[in-house]
C-alpha cells in the first residue's frame, strides 16, 4: 500500500487528519467518463463527525467525487475508475465489500427531492424493510425517530399514510434525509441538497445538517459559497477534476492561499 500523502495539483495547502479521526480516505482517485477525465489523482481525508464541503465551478468533478464515495458509478459502464477509497479503513472496492451494504453505510441525498411514489411512512421504512428482520413496533419507532431527527415529525405525524408526493419541495427533501437516516448510515453525502428549494426550506435543511454532525459524518457538495461557509467545518476547493486547496472553512474563505481559490470565492473567475 502506498504511503498516504495528500497533495494538491499545484502546490496548494492541503489539510490532513490522522487516520484515527478520519472517516473516509481518498487516495489517488482518478475517474473518467469514457475518454473524458473527470477526476485526476485526488488524495484527501474526510474527518469523522464533521461537515466537509466540496466547492468548485460546474463540471469540476465535485458531484462525481461524491457519487464515487458510495459506488453509484457502478451501474455506468462508461466510467473508468482508479485509486482507492477507504471507509473506516476498509477499501470500498474490495471484493468482500457488499455494495448494497456500503450504500446503506454511506447514505446519499440528491439535488432534487426524490421521494418514492408511496406513503410517507413507506418511504422512511423502505431501507429498513430491505434489511429485513425488523418487527412492526421497531419499525414504527425507527420511522418516528428518523422523522424527528430530520425535523419533519411534527408536520407529518398525522398523515403518515398519505402520499409523499403531496409534500412541499422542502418537506420532500427532509423526508429524503429521514429516509436515509432510518438505515443508520455512518456517512451522509449531500449533493446540493438545497439548490432546488426556497430560502426558508434551505435554512431548515442547513440547520438540520448542523444538528446531524453529532451523529454522523457529512459530506456536502454545494454551489453556494455562503452555504458552505455557514454549515461546513472544512472545505475543499476543486477545479477541473483536481484538488486545489483544502482547509478549515474559516481559513479557506478568509485567507485562501492560492489566487485561484481566492478568485473563485470572490467571484472573479479567470
Amino acid at each position: 500500500m502506498s504511503v498516504f500523502s495528500p497533495r494538491s495539483a499545484d502546490g496548494g495547502p492541503i489539510i490532513d487528519f490522522d487516520p484515527v479521526s478520519c472517516c473516509l480516505e481518498i487516495e489517488g482517485l482518478s475517474l473518467a467518463y469514457g475518454e473524458t477525465p473527470a477526476l485526476r489523482e485526488l488524495t484527501l481525508r474526510v474527518p469523522r463527525h464533521r461537515v466537509t464541503a466540496f466547492i468548485g465551478p460546474s463540471g469540476c468533478g465535485k458531484s462525481t467525487l461524491l457519487r464515487a464515495l458510495n459506488r453509484l458509478h457502478d451501474l455506468n459502464d462508461e466510467v473508468h475508475l482508479s485509486g482507492r477509497i477507504r471507509l473506516e479503513g476498509q477499501d470500498i472496492h474490495a471484493p468482500e465489500m457488499e455494495v448494497a451494504e456500503l450504500r446503506r453505510r454511506v447514505g446519499m441525498v440528491f439535488q432534487a427531492p426524490n421521494p418514492f411514489p408511496m406513503s410517507i411512512y413507506d418511504n422512511v421504512a423502505f431501507g429498513l424493510r430491505l434489511q429485513g428482520g425488523i418487527r412492526k413496533r421497531q419499525l414504527d419507532d425507527v420511522v418516528e425517530w428518523a422523522l424527528r431527527s430530520s425535523a419533519l415529525w411534527d408536520e407529518v405525524k398525522d398523515r403518515l399514510k398519505s402520499s409523499a408526493w403531496a409534500l412541499s419541495g422542502g418537506q420532500q427533501q427532509r423526508l429524503v434525509i429521514a429516509r436515509t437516516l432510518a438505515v443508520r448510515p455512518e456517512v451522509l453525502l449531500l449533493d446540493e441538497p438545497a439548490s432546488a428549494l426556497d430560502p426558508i426550506s434551505t435554512l431548515k435543511i442547513e440547520e438540520l445538517i448542523r444538528n446531524l454532525k453529532s451523529q454522523l459524518t457529512l459530506v456536502l457538495v454545494t454551489h453556494n459559497m455562503q452555504q458552505a461557509a455557514r454549515v461546513s467545518d472544512y472545505t475543499a476547493f476543486l477545479q477541473e477534476g483536481e484538488l486545489v486547496e483544502y482547509g478549515t472553512t474559516d481559513t479557506l474563505f478568509t485567507n485562501p492561499r492560492l489566487a485561484r481559490t481566492e478568485n473563485y470565492i470572490t467571484g472573479r473567475m479567470a
Binding site: 451501474l75 450504500r103 439535488q111 427531492p113 426524490n114 418514492f116 423502505f126 430491505l130 420532500q172 429524503v176
Partner: protein, 510 residues
Amino acid sequence: MIGRARLPRGEGVWPWLAAGSLALSLLMLAGLLFLLAVRGMGHFWPSPLTLVTLEDGRLLAGQAVREERQPNAAGRERLYLTGNRDLDGAIWRWVAVDEIAEESRPRDLVVLERTRWGSFQGRLLALEERGERVEGEAAWAALQARLQELAALRAERDRLRDEIVVPLVRRMEREPLAEAELARASARIRELQARIAGGRLLLESVDGRRLEQPLEQVLRAWRPNAMSPPAKVAAWGGGVWRFLAEGPRAANSAGGVWPAIFGTVLMVLLMSVVVTPFGVLAAIYLNEIAHQGRLTHLVRIAVRNLAGVPSIVYGVFGLGVFVYGIGGSLDEWFFADQLPSPTFGTGGLLWASLTLALLTLPVVIVATEEGLARVPDHQREGALALGATRVEMLTRVVLPMTAPAMLTGVILAVARAAGEVAPLMLVGVAKLAPQVPVDGDFPFLHLERKFMHLGYHIYDVAFHGSDVQAALPLVYATALLLVLVILVLNLTAIFLRHHLRARHGALPRR
C-alpha cells in the same frame, strides 16, 4: 382559381383542402361505424312483413331490403327477402317498383324460423298433433305454447347429450361399467326425441301454395305486423342474446357466434399469458441491464421495426416452426400411435396463441420500455442509495411505477391480436369447431384443438358461404361485435396512457 387578389388576408385554397381531408377521414370512420352499427344491430329487429300485390295479380310477402336503379331500364327495383326456399328455390326477389299495385301489412302474416330451408313467411292454417287439429287463431296460440314446450325439451335433450352421453362414450374405452348408465341416458334421449317429434303445421304462402311443416324443425314463430313496440324490443333483445350465446347453424349462415367468441377470448388470454412476462422481461433487459451501447440501440430499433413486419409473415413462421417443426416432433415422440393423423402437427389453439404472442411482443416491449424510460433516474438512484440491490430497486420502485405502461402495452397487444386474422389462417382456426377447446375431459384445456375465431368467422361466412346475401346480416353483427371489443380495449389503453401521463406530470422534475 381563387386568387389572392380577391381574397386579401386569405390563405388561398390549400388550407380548405387540408381541413377537408381531415373531415373526409373522420367521415369515413364515422360512416363505417354507423354502417356496422345500423346493419349489425338492425338484423335482430323484427322488421315488418309487407304483402305486395303486383299489377299482374301475383302476390308476395317479404321484407324490403334495399332499392336500386334498374340496370337497363328507367325505373327502380326493390329487393325483398321472401324466405320459403323450399317453395320458391330462392329467398330473394327483385321487384320493379313500377309494377307494384298495392302494399299492405296484414296482421296475420307469420314468420317461422326453421332448422332447415331457412325461414317461412306466410299464413298459418292449422296445427296437427296426435290426431288433434287446431285451426285459425287458436292454432297460433297453440303453436306458441307448443314451441315453448319444445324449447324446454330440446334444452334437456342437448344437456343430456353434452353432459352425460358424450363423456360416457369417451370413458367407455376404459370402463365397461358405464354401459348401463349410458343406456339409461340414451333411453331418456329417445323418449324426449319422441315427444319432440310428431307435430305438423299446415302452412300457406301468400300466393296460395300449401306446405306441411314438421313441427320439430320449427324454432320460433312470430307475427311481426301484430307485435307491439315493447314486444319488438323484447324480441330484439332475445335475438341479440341468442346471437351471443348460441352456436352457428345452417353452415354458419344462421344462429349465433358463441364458439367464435369463446375461441377468440381463450386464444387472446393464452397469448397474453405468454406475451406479458416475456415482453416485460425483454424490456427490462434492454432498458435496465444491457450495456447501453450501439448493439442495444440497434436491437431496440430492430424490435421496433418488427412491429411493422406483416402479420402474415408471422403466420408463415408459426406454420414452419411451431406447427411443422415443433408440432411434428411432438407427434413423433408422444403421439406416434396416432400418426399419420396429426395431433400437435397441425394448426391449433396453442400454436395460434404462440404465433400471435410473437406478433405482439414488439408492442409490449416498446410500451414497457417507454414506461421504464419515463421513470426518472433519480428514483433509481434513491433506491440504490438506501442500500437496495438492483433487483430490489427494480421490483420495489421501478416496476410499480411502470405497471400502467405495461398494462397499456398488454391491452394494445390484446386489441391487435383480437383483430388479426391472416396468421390464424395458417396456424389454427376452423370454419366450424363443434368442440370448444375447454371441456370436462382431462386435461380440460385442449391446446391442440382447432378453434373458431370472430375475425375468421367474418371472412369465412362472407366469402365462402353458399348464400352470402342471406348471411350478410350475421356478418355485419359479427363485425360489429369484433369492432366493439377492439374499440373498448383501445379506449381502455388510451385512458390508461392518459392517466399515466397525468400522474407522471406530477413528478418532481430534476
